[in-house]
Subunit: 305 residues, 2 copies
């Protein structure tokens, strides 16, 4: 990589401000073939801006979030993405299964059906499911986990009917109270394996699972149930807002080489989403974020796929 220093030195990585370590891959570079921009990485961009940004950067896939999708309008969005020639690697997100009142549960189910419809309309075969946290004042973690299992079961037939796979996302235990009560890949697989592999899978997000004892065995166990591989970094000190505590690959502690090789060995051939919730990343110009993420991806992740 030292031979590329003169070219790379023209650009700075975000948010670190360090000189780029490799040249930015050009559109058409075959190493970009499986890279996907999760919209959350450029949270200030509209869907239109994200689609245009992907095209300009030569990124052929996008992970779409429901909120900007609703702003754009489903039909408009589907046409926009299709016209741009992009794949939709996932729709984020369904889930939030842990509410306990019957009316709230029915509302959550209806939202998930709507999300499945949207995924199908976008030609997207993967709906990411965020399990949800403990309801206010509720300390019954086992009960909340049981409600996740029940709610997932209710989505299996609707998902199959629409040709969309459900991706249960285990979330780092930092979020067990308030975002996601499914805390390990092992636990997500215990849940997914109650259903056919072509309908219920798991999301492997490096931020969430990098620390898990036995994670390589669990990735192998997941096999073709891996419906999405998402990459972002664990950085220290953790930013003050834990929801925004993710970093750019290479800026932290995660061994992307080993995890990525395990995901590839498990048979995963899909897109690789970069999903970074981070205030400093969001404050940077979107094009600079995409350039950095493409560089870090071809340097740290793609060689191991």
């Amino acid at each position: 990589m030292t031979g590329t220093a003169p070219a790379a030195a023209r650009e700075l990585d975000v948010p670190s401000g360090a000189p780029a370590r490799v040249p930015t891959p050009e559109p058409g570079d075959p190493r970009l073939a499986r890279l996907s921009l999760n919209q959350r990485t450029t949270a200030r961009w509209s869907l239109r801006e994200a689609v245009d940004g992907c095209v300009a950067a030569g990124i052929g896939s996008i992970g779409v979030w429901r909120e900007p999708l609703a702003e754009a309008g489903l039909d408009t969005a589907a046409r926009m993405i299709r016209d741009a020639g992009l794949r939709v690697s996932s729709l984020c997100r369904g889930g939030f299964f842990t509410v306990s009142e019957p009316s709230a549960r029915a509302a959550a189910h209806a939202e998930n059906i709507a999300a499945l419809d949207e995924a199908a309309a976008l030609g997207c075969d993967t709906l990411v499911l965020v399990p949800g946290g403990l309801p206010e004042g509720d300390r019954d973690l086992a009960g909340a986990r049981q409600r996740v299992a029940e709610a997932v079961a209710e989505l299996v037939a609707p998902a199959r009917a629409r040709g969309v796979r459900l991706g249960i996302e285990p979330m780092h235990p930092i979020f067990a109270a308030d975002r996601g009560v499914i805390s390990t890949l092992a636990q997500a697989l215990d849940l997914a394996e109650q259903h056919p592999a072509d309908v219920v899978g798991v999301v492997v997000d490096t931020f969430h699972v990098w620390w898990e004892p036995g994670v390589l065995d669990q990735i192998a166990r997941a096999g073709r149930r891996i419906v999405s591989y998402q990459v972002c970094e664990w950085i220290t000190p953790l930013p003050a807002d834990t929801l925004l505590s993710r970093g750019m690959m290479g800026d932290g502690h995660i061994d992307f080489r080993t995890l990525t090789r395990a995901v590839a060995a498990a048979g995963y051939t899909g897109d690789v989403e970069v999903e970074i919730f981070n205030a400093d990343v969001w404050a940077a110009p979107g094009a600079a974020v995409l350039a950095t993420m493409a560089r870090r991806y071809v340097e740290i992740v793609e060689p191991h796929l």
Copy 2:
């Protein structure tokens, strides 16, 4: 508890500022028999102040930290604690096993031997081991975990010779990068079970393990290997400094009833340490902290022992 409201209303809990829900237990109250103040809960107090605070509050046991112990001097401290009639429930802390250079490893081992000597001098039979995080720039989590196993093995004979048990403390995955690479009670037990149960055990700290899938089974598995039960709370939103993100029991999301019953059912008969790293707790007067922790303990924890 409503019948106690008139008495309780005279005091406020810290750091919440809410009216006390139960009267403060008086010194000699049998419900306080197993309560221990971990010194970290009153971090601004010297050992002298902590010992006096325990005596005033009727708390018969203290978890001692090595830094304030060194400030007081070992002989002075041992006499002070003995004269006050306190037990030392644990010495915090040994560990930090993950360094990789031979000289650093030798220094860490020597520090652990010194900690064992101090525990023995205090008449304390439990040394808490914090595993340590990833060395700077090192992303080999499996390697770091292996070094913990090796370093623990080297401490078994010295610990046995001094009559001190080693307590491996699994730490919440929020600390996997920078404090403790042993992330679950299951993983700590895999490690402890390589050695005799009378020398190598585990620390069950509610903050660290409350989220762990299967934690009740792991507590049962631990049985008499539980050498310390520490209680503090997971609160949201998490305070900005994750090292200080622990809360007062009852202010957050942890089900102390279920965890405490499991620890009791496993056969644990030792002291229960309250260990709270929290800037707001530290800013409160120590006596108010001890009063709140005693109230919360008799309300939320002690009935389930």
